[in-house]
Amino acid sequence: MINKYITIFVFSIFISLNINAQSDPDKIIADVLAKASMVKSFEADVKIDVDVDFIKIPVKNGKVFYKAPDKFRFRATSFALVPKKGINFSVISMLQQPHTAIYAGSDDANHILKIVPMEASADFVIATVWIDKLKDRIQKMQVTSNGQGNYTMTFEYGDLKFDLPVITIVGFDIQQIDIPMKFIGSLKVDPKKAGERTSGNVKLTYSNFRINGSIPDEVFIEEEISSK
């Protein structure tokens, strides 16, 4: 009889420890960062599809280059609107900043964490991150930025050897343009909506990955492209 109670006690402690280990936000983030750190560099083709109700732009093609720890470059053959937030490793760098992580629960497939940056200079106030329980990778992120509204990033992964998203959807708020300038055209914005914030999103579809190959540093140097 005593043995039975001891077994139950030990088993419950084991379960409790296991649950604590699973819901330790710092460990979850450390696992994500450890997997991300396996990617030292990559380059890929990207298609950018902007969906904002007052902007019409065709789908643009470009190339992205990344080199650890923080070099990132986008190159397009023609003009492209590239979202400031949500391009791949900007998300990882957010998790690398000093922060307090809170385990906020879970859904069927993901841990849900709240990330609060510790530094006053951080460009976001709070972020909610959905992290895949089994694969230790970020599925979704909602960010309240410091003065630039809220944005959401959703990541879809393919069957790559490394956990790099093949599709990223960035949702954001954007202010309606309210300066109809006659000489450049006529923008018929509803006056009631001018200046208001509206939502939009950008879909980034990556393909032709080349991971952990050699990328020369010159690729990351900005060029003067505005005029001849």
Partner: protein, 278 residues
């Protein structure tokens, strides 16, 4: 008729007034190009500052095509003046110089003479618009690379570089047609006068009045708008919409052609019935 038109062309290009339009366009285009080269990026930054919160701009929207579009937008109200100066002088100038009676002693009908003058005036108008196109796009290549173009047309349209040329050709073709209306109007007034100033001032007055009426969005002016040719003068911009509304373009073109025909018919009627005393 061919000889008559050649003769009219040689007369036209012997007059200094003919070159005013070309010189004015050249100077304005050069000044705008230089201005945009120096300050264009600041202008664009101001225009898209709310977008800059969300997007990084990869590449530049200040390029040959965007600047040409800005030039067209700036100049489109002024080209009619240049057109009217020459077209308004085509018939009245002969009257003013007292050469009509001498001209009509030759074995040609009044219809032939007026038609030759009308074709010459409209050809000059076409040359002026083509000169604007070649100069804007050609000179732009010295300052910028070709690139995607931003147009504010109901929404912010960013047109791919591969999708621009046909729009410019369409826009300039439409532009030629709309300027033919202005030239036709000035030419019509020219048949009524015996000095050049009257037709030019009259056609400009009509143009200004109709433009004001076209831009009023209230009451009775809304009813008048569809009947005023000035409503359709800026229709060249429609080629930069996405998608292009061809129905509106065809309708506007038909109305402009109707105006061109009516102005010619009235001019012909006046000229053939006119008692020529000089």
């Amino acid at each position: 008729m061919g000889t008559l038109i050649k003769l009219e062309f040689s007369k036209l290009f012997k007059r200094e007034i003919t070159y005013i339009g070309f010189i004015a366009i050249f100077l304005i285009v050069v000044i705008i190009q230089i201005g945009m080269f120096i300050e264009g990026q600041k202008l664009l930054d101001f225009l898209v500052k709310s977008m800059a919160d969300v997007f990084v701009f990869e590449g530049s929207l200040i390029n040959t095509y965007s600047v040409t579009y800005i030039i067209l937008n700036s100049l489109w109200l002024h080209i009619p003046i240049l057109v009217a100066i020459v077209a308004g002088d085509m018939v009245s100038g002969e009257a003013g110089r007292g050469t009509f009676r001498l001209l009509l002693t030759r074995p040609l009908s009044r219809t032939q003479l007026l038609t030759a003058k009308y074709i010459t005036a409209q050809a000059y108008t076409s040359m002026l618009v083509v000169f604007l196109m070649v100069l804007s796009l050609g000179l732009g290549h010295f300052f910028w690379e070709p690139g995607d173009m931003m147009v504010l047309m109901n929404t912010i349209n960013i047109l791919d570089v591969s999708d621009i040329w046909w729009r410019f050709i369409g826009a300039f073709a439409y532009g030629v047609m709309s300027m033919w209306v202005v030239a036709g109007l000035a030419f019509m007034f020219s048949t009524m006068a015996s000095n050049s100033l009257g037709p030019v001032v009259s056609s400009m007055s009509v143009l200004i009045l109709f433009t004001i009426l076209s831009n009023f969005s209230i009451g009775i002016f809304e009813v008048l708008k569809p009947f005023l040719f000035t409503t359709y003068l800026s229709g060249w911009q429609l080629f930069f919409d996405d998608p292009v509304d061809w129905n509106i373009i065809w309708k506007a073109s038909a109305i402009l052609i109707l105006h061109i025909s009516v102005f010619y018919a009235v001019a012909l009627r006046i000229f053939t019935k006119k008692d020529i005393t000089t």
